[in-house]
């Protein structure tokens, strides 16, 4: 992932602003690091299926990271989760102001599609990737999940609805990252299989986040923890023990499914996933 990080730093959004804050703020959250989990998934799939596509695939991985970063910036806004910390640093509206956080989020959202439209792929491939990113990262994906999350604050949901919430809020973009990797390599059949895998992985990821929220300090997590009491988290609804059981069961299921991947895919994804699949333990 060093090459991706270098690529990202070489391709940071630049705006010809007559005010310095806007340009700095556009880059701030992208430079702040983060796990780069979605890019790692996409690039892991590409490395396994067709390493020759790796260089162009970085453009798509970057587009996903742009969309993901905008969503963090907007989720942290005072009107939303009102979070002071992200990626171990003050959130954008704390460093600057709300106006900046809203506008930078908007700009990165749109920019993710500009990056895909300019990426070194065939037009047919670009369109497929844009369709995946927009349909999973938009009104019937990530944004819908965030809406459910906000509207049902202080209103406990049934477990099935919590799964709907997090399938949309978290899992669809993770699933799209894996799927887009396979699309780039022209393997449509595998792309569907990886999407289903990614949905489960995303759910596990969220259950783990909920578990770590009550077991980790803010310093360890790099963001405010113990902040979910009024939220529909797997822990607030199921309790910590049951959430742990659910996480273990999903982790086992995913580990088993990974064994059905062919060798190259297994050996690329294993180092990325094993770490995450067991991070709640």
């Amino acid at each position: 992932m060093q090459k991706f990080e270098a690529f990202l730093l070489d391709n940071l959004p630049i705006s010809a602003s007559i005010h310095p804050v806007y340009e700095d703020a556009l880059q701030e959250m992208l430079k702040a690091g983060g796990k780069r989990f979605r890019p790692a998934l996409l690039l892991g799939v590409v490395k396994a299926l067709n390493p020759l596509m790796l260089e162009s695939a970085r453009h798509a991985a970057y587009a996903i990271e742009l969309l993901h970063t905008y969503s963090l910036i907007h989720d942290d806004l005072p009107a939303m989760d009102d979070s002071p910390l992200r990626r171990g640093k003050p959130t954008l509206h704390m460093v600057y102001d709300e106006v900046t956080a809203i506008l930078v989020g908007d700009a990165l959202n749109t920019y993710s599609f500009e990056v895909l439209s300019d990426a070194p792929f065939s037009d047919a491939m670009k369109v497929k990737l844009i369709r995946e990113l927009s349909s999973n990262g938009g009104l019937n994906g990530m944004v819908l999940g965030q809406a459910i999350d906000c509207y049902f604050e202080n209103k406990p949901l049934q477990i099935e609805d919590i799964k709907t919430l997090h399938t949309n809020k978290t899992a669809k973009l993770i699933a799209a990252s894996m799927k887009m990797g396979a699309i780039i390599c022209g393997d449509e059949e595998l792309s569907e299989k990886l999407y289903e895998f990614g949905i489960k992985l995303g759910l596990l990821f969220q259950i783990q986040d909920d578990i770590l929220d009550v077991t980790q300090s803010s310093e360890e997590a790099g963001k405010l923890t113990n902040n979910d009491e009024n939220k529909n988290s797997f822990v607030t609804i199921l309790g910590l023990d049951e959430a742990m059981k659910e996480a273990n069961s999903l982790a086992d299921e995913l580990t088993l499914e990974m064994q059905s991947f062919d060798e190259s895919l297994h050996s690329e994804l294993s180092p990325i996933l094993t770490k995450y699949i067991n991070r709640h333990k």
Copy 2:
């Protein structure tokens, strides 16, 4: 434009939400009307150049209207312009709340690219349209303009910088609408010419808005007027008389340029533009 309105109503964004507010709110501002100025420009160009493309062109016109509508919703937010009225109705954050207005704006932004990726065009055409919309509607276009507007509130700008502000905030999306019409009809050379024309038209449009802000009541305008004292408007910087002169001079220039259009383009754009070109008088 009746057919466009019907198309829009037939294609409103639908989200499988488990909460009714989100779906209603997604559609609210789109159904609230508005001038549909950008779609009219795109469709006017297409009607003049190749009426057979009109039906598919509506998808592109709709995508632009989606992006434009998201920008209005976010511009009206309390942290931004804090506007209570838009299109003659209460703004989205007044009807619902800030969370809804932020999320619906985000969703419509992303959805505009989903609509283009699914539109009945060749992949090559889709990519061109997506590149135009994202580059003019994003970090070096509309969002940059809004950023300059916000950062220089209460700080008077030179007239050249105000032109930069409004070229980005307003004119680029108007110019892109005309350019995209020509792109759909495969006339790349005309597309560049129309872009330049659209930039001037957008500037005129903004000067007129600034003039109408001080000469119209909120009822006439359908939005809060006399609200620009702290803003860098052409009227606050130039004064009403000079702003009028600037508008008249741009209007004359545009009228002259229109006479250089070939007959079909002139006769399609004339009814749309004459109304606007003279609306400050």
